[in-house]
Symmetry: D3
Subunit: 323 residues, 6 copies
């Protein structure tokens, strides 16, 4: 069998179909959604009652990296607070935040825990919590520099809280594996375990966890980003792995094929060309629809969808751990 190219789109930059299907209204949040935003990107959203709440990475026209709360009735149309989140902070030492970016939100035991990359003498992991997305409490620096891309699991495992993260260096790190840490109290973390490292192709330079892992019968579904280094820079794509339910540092399946990669103009052009960076997902249990929110070109927030079933099947079908 062969494929005739004749019917292919003329423009030539449109990518082949990937597992994740882009929302036609992309980007759902453009770079100029706030009057002084340079870009709005890599942001977390979560279901909140009948509606949605989010924590948005806003790079303003100082190119400060800040996190702003936001709200939505449908997960598609968002109001973003023009003021950055105001953390309540018990320890003045913790107020020395130079920057804050790439938040994740994990619903856990009835509260909403937020983890993000925090500039405290280097990029490290901070954690905060909110009950209502009105008041926000800054808990602690939970991992020392240099670290990024931390996200909590949505329940305790073996009696301890568990967090994925990516040790890094102090710049545009050219390496990076996914690790996991465990905690009795969400403040102190230890028993650090290696989860998975780089692999070939689109995930050959570094990888990092994205949305909150989703618990399924087959294991924890972890969507993650992978980076390839071309001769003109990093290319960020999206993949999926399934982790053991009880020993989540054990990888059961992992996609050799990406599930999304930058092929649309709004993903290939912008503040950082060639980026699709998954940060959050919302699973609609009735329909099994899985919405994946991702940053495009470090410039805007976009949406792509699949079903959880399709995602699991794809991950197992394209499993790089199969001999």
């Amino acid at each position: 069998m062969s494929v005739a190219t004749e019917a292919a789109p003329r423009q030539g930059l449109i990518g082949a179909e990937s597992l994740l299907k882009r929302y036609p209204g992309n980007p759902i949040i453009p770079r100029n959604a706030l009057p002084d935003s340079d870009s709005i990107l890599n942001s977390a959203v979560v279901r909140f009652g009948d509606a949605y709440r989010g924590m948005f990475r806003v790079d303003n026209q100082n190119r400060d990296m800040l996190i702003h709360p936001g709200r939505s009735a449908d997960g598609l149309h968002w109001e973003i607070d023009p003021r950055p989140v105001q953390w309540q902070c018990r320890d003045s030492e913790l107020e020395q935040i130079v920057y804050a970016y790439d938040p994740r939100i994990t619903p856990l035991e009835g509260r909403y825990y937020i983890t993000w990359c925090h500039g405290y003498h280097g990029p490290c992991i901070a954690m905060g919590v909110t009950d209502d997305f009105e008041k926000f409490e800054l808990l602690e620096v939970v991992l020392p520099p240099f670290n990024r891309n931390a996200v909590l699991f949505p329940r305790k495992i073996n009696g301890r809280y568990v967090m994925l993260h990516r040790p890094s260096d102090n710049g545009h790190t050219p390496f990076g594996d996914i690790f996991l840490s465990q905690s009795p109290d969400l403040i102190h973390w230890g028993s650090h375990r290696f989860v998975m490292g780089t692999a070939g192709g689109w995930q050959s330079t570094k990888i990092g966890a994205g949305p909150v892992p989703i618990e399924t019968d087959e294991g924890w579904v972890m969507i993650y980003h992978g980076v390839l280094t071309s001769c003109n820079g990093f290319v960020y794509s999206v993949g999926c792995a399934i982790l053991d339910l009880d020993q989540p540092w054990k990888v059961l399946h992992r996609t050799r094929r990406y599930i999304l990669a930058p092929t649309e103009p709004y993903e290939m052009v912008g503040s950082v060309p060639n980026v699709t960076f998954p940060v959050a997902c919302i699973h609609e249990e009735k329909t099994d629809e899985l919405r994946v929110y991702y940053g495009a070109a470090d410039t805007s927030v976009c949406l792509a969808t699949t079903t959880l079933r399709e995602l699991i099947d794809f991950t197992k079908e394209h499993d790089m751990l199969k001999s």
Copy 2:
């Protein structure tokens, strides 16, 4: 108060409004304005009688970097000489120019002084002069390697000529501060002073002076470029500072927020993605309109406008020197 994203432009790459407003006819000089040009960029213009003259950086299809004279009746429509400037040169040693780029023109004591980055055993600063944009005299190498982005003040200060410049290295320098030098005769320069260095955000990697400083009651208005290093390269934005009238190495105000940044397709895509590089401005005293000419994506010449009053007010309002 919150901002609904619904009305935002679909394409998502359009930036929020910045202080400088782009001319709708951008780029005013496209890359192919000469039959053998690869790109026409980072160019200087000046009022000349009732009309305008300019010195244009033309990268030809050898990718030689050259400077061509040009003329215009309105500052918008330009004729560029297809032949590079022919320097009259007293010293044959000075004819060893490997390349010439990023010119500035300063009207000074009735003549037009041109400064540019000159390839003489490394990038250094050369100076030339013309009275009529017909004959051009090469004066001297006025600063040794490695240096770029030199521009003269339009009058003597404290009895000496003054020039801004940016010491650099011999490549795509990843650092750079603005310095100032002083001269009795425009040939010999000394009493070098530090003016200002990098700061956060869009100006965190390097900065360099742009157009000829504009004298106002509040000080010298200096538009400059600042560079941020993303994981996929440099991003060039535009800012403004106000320098002390008598001690121009003293910075009175400096924008923490950029006044222009690459968000249009012709700024984000081209020979060097994500560049807005200001080189010249023309102030219309009657209307107070300030036209800023800038290179876009190292590919074409563009125009953006504001008023001098608005620029000063903005610089003071967004002053990073305020506590």
Copy 3:
């Protein structure tokens, strides 16, 4: 004489006319021509009887770099085999291919020899052969790491086979000259000779041979790529040289001006921005038309044309070897 800019295209990114004229239907093979392709690029084609055959570099959605056979009746519309080429291999050691990219096809003594960059403990040069584009035999690793961009001459010279290639390093090599090697049997190569190195402008970082050299009365016409390093990465353009018929390591003429450079959206945006990479050409003897197939932005396959006569004349007119 001067050139008015008014009539120039508004968008400003369109380049000035170059010697090679782009096919209006570009890209002729879009990135999504196969269901699981990420991109299809840098590919070789050859006349085969009344039709055409090709070897296509396909980067799939694993971002594996693979070579797929393809066929076409007219050289414009192509069917690409969805399965990578299956090499018949006498030596199991040779089956350790990690990747394969940027093939060239040389018709030689009635067979079709394929050379490409092969991942065998580093990028090196492998050679294979086919008679029918149905069965493919892997001959040998003909040059050890680190090497790329090898292409055979279409006949013996002075009793030996001759191959152009580019020694490199194990990454995105920031240097590279064209060398030539000689062989009695296509397997063993020696008498390695330097052909030409980098020069100014668009060919200042590295250069590498492209299509099979074309024999003419004036010498071997060698189209090649040249790379310039901007502050935001490599820019790949296309040039031409003419080599001595009997001593092909002697360069008779070489273009100082490029004959194609990335100025179209599909060349400036994609997996690797700003790439035009020539790999194959087909010369129509009757019309003298020369079709040059090139990879655009490491994303798609494109076509540009001239005549061989015009190419030779241009190379001699813009000869950088003239005083």
Copy 4:
């Protein structure tokens, strides 16, 4: 007043007197103290009853980095076990040690806790414990990659255990500040705090904690190493700081002058030239003598002495935090 050079040592490489006085029998442990050692360096010692025990970094002739136990009656003459320490390990995941180096020993609540840099998918901090230096239990990976130079305080502070450490990258890190972490149980660590960063001169590239901090009325006395980057590599010197007793992330005093630097042949020549690296100290309360054990040139173990009183006075006299 002036200094005549005539009487100065002829050889010219002998350094001026520093606060720490070298033991005349240096190195106390030569590189060949074990039959298959390449070097014995950066090692920890501790008083154990009437005698001494130590954990020695031995690089064997494979150039594996290993830790061996050792014992001594006087702290000067040592027997080193020819077999590396055998860790008892509850979790087989933790047996994946690629290397182990630069141990510290902290007596704490009657047991001996050992911290060291552990190769587990990158350099990270592991902790173990012994009661008798016969049986050794591996507790956990207490800090994830990339980290080095961790040492525990000898008692709880504010109800939590406290550890100093130095976040790093995955190579010969060219940066590094001292941080502090806190723990309820020695396994889980959080509330990470910045203690101090690099400064000028000998401590301009990176710094890291050395021996167990010594509690005094004036605060915790912390001896540390600092690194300067010369054009021919790193130079490791020794300094001292005094930390607040209750808030040990607050630095009260810090030496601007080093207290030891590589000026002896055995410090300037060896596996890594120009290294003095302090790891342990023993304070003799009666005499106030303070013995500092340090690695020399990454090759041998040496000793230098002062009194605690002199060290504190020197630190306050040469305090870089004064005015």
Copy 5:
């Protein structure tokens, strides 16, 4: 069992005993053996009738790297020709030698073949031949850039000549594996095979073949160098491997432990600190004595000995290929 350090040498820099025993008269050729030599290092020697001949790398006081012939009656006392070797060369292209270093000499079919690193538009492998060490013929560039450390086997294997070599880059290459190539005629080389790559410890950065492999019943004995990167530069040690007699790209045994490493002052101090670089060996069949000639600190030529039997036994005992 434990080892008391008391009896160990005071100076502390003397290394533990290694398999190779240094000749007490080291260095046998000091850096100043010629009136204008800066250093004499990495040199090849061979038995020649009842005497010895050698090819010596001499870096003169221009710091040109040259090869000089030399002779000796006993292999210990050498006369080095003050004039570099004069190559007879059929092809004037080959006279463009920029430098020549690190020669090996292989007796083969009654002649003496010399291979070395040759500066011809990059470091590559040249080959020459002599019958009498009076007249020397330059044969060809046998491997293109970038390559170093090539040495021929002393007989054909499976009907082809065989050569070990190490692909590299154009600088102080931070990587390097040993490859093997095959030739029908000593000029043309192909069927390139990977032999072995870097491993842990002293051989973790790069490795390269040293003396001519020695044929034994157990396989080809290949002495090689391995490099470790400390924070202050490369450290060159010596190891051994045994290759399959018929398929010499198959490694049967390989030392995990070095057999010599820089621990003497003349190895740790000099033009390049911390280098022991084996280049030649002479096996005395009657006594089984094996003399290994090595460069020390890129400054002088030294000698160390063992027996071939001990070397083979050691290599098998410390075999890193044993599980």
Copy 6:
């Protein structure tokens, strides 16, 4: 003719004879000549009446780089002021000296002008003057960053003062050529000219002027340093050039062979291994003796001698400008 090695020094590290002969009492100033000096190196001396004065680079035990005055009756035995030079400074801006190193002293029109590398927002060139070595006036920053190794000619040439210097970058610069600048008043400098660049061997990485040029009938004799990059760092050697008397940017002769290189223990071992760095010379007209003062291993001050006649003859004999 051949050279027997037997009589050569056993230790093997002693270099062959070079043109400059070391003073047997080297180092004449050891690193510990002041109570708090870490090293004393790269220093300038000058005849002062019947005695000598000098400006000494002292790196103290903070590793601050400072300049101290000193005096001597014979040029061999020196008293160094334990206090750094106190500059009288008209402009408080100039007091922002971060460091000061590598001074030169030029007697000029009856005064003593001092030039050195000055840390003012980067390494740049400052100039001061003294009449008596008691009071010192800081004149100005005479060249902006980044620059090092500046030295004045001892008289005006063509009516202007002339200064040699070496543009650099902001770190351990891996490149560097010698330039020359001209001034009417010693404060303002222009008409910058390239003098000479790197060449092969010992001067392949960078070069810089050393002592004050000596006027002779044959031209200005300029002793300079050259740097080679080995795989373990920079090696600093010494060479000589002769410049045209009237157009001192024209090089008449230049040594291809070094006149001194690091081969003594005090040159190969120390703060920076393998450095001989010439800074000053004193010519005894009666005897024609030329004393060259140089820094050894960035650790001490040493002396080597020749005659001016021999130096000129050697420079012409080993002239790399001869075809």
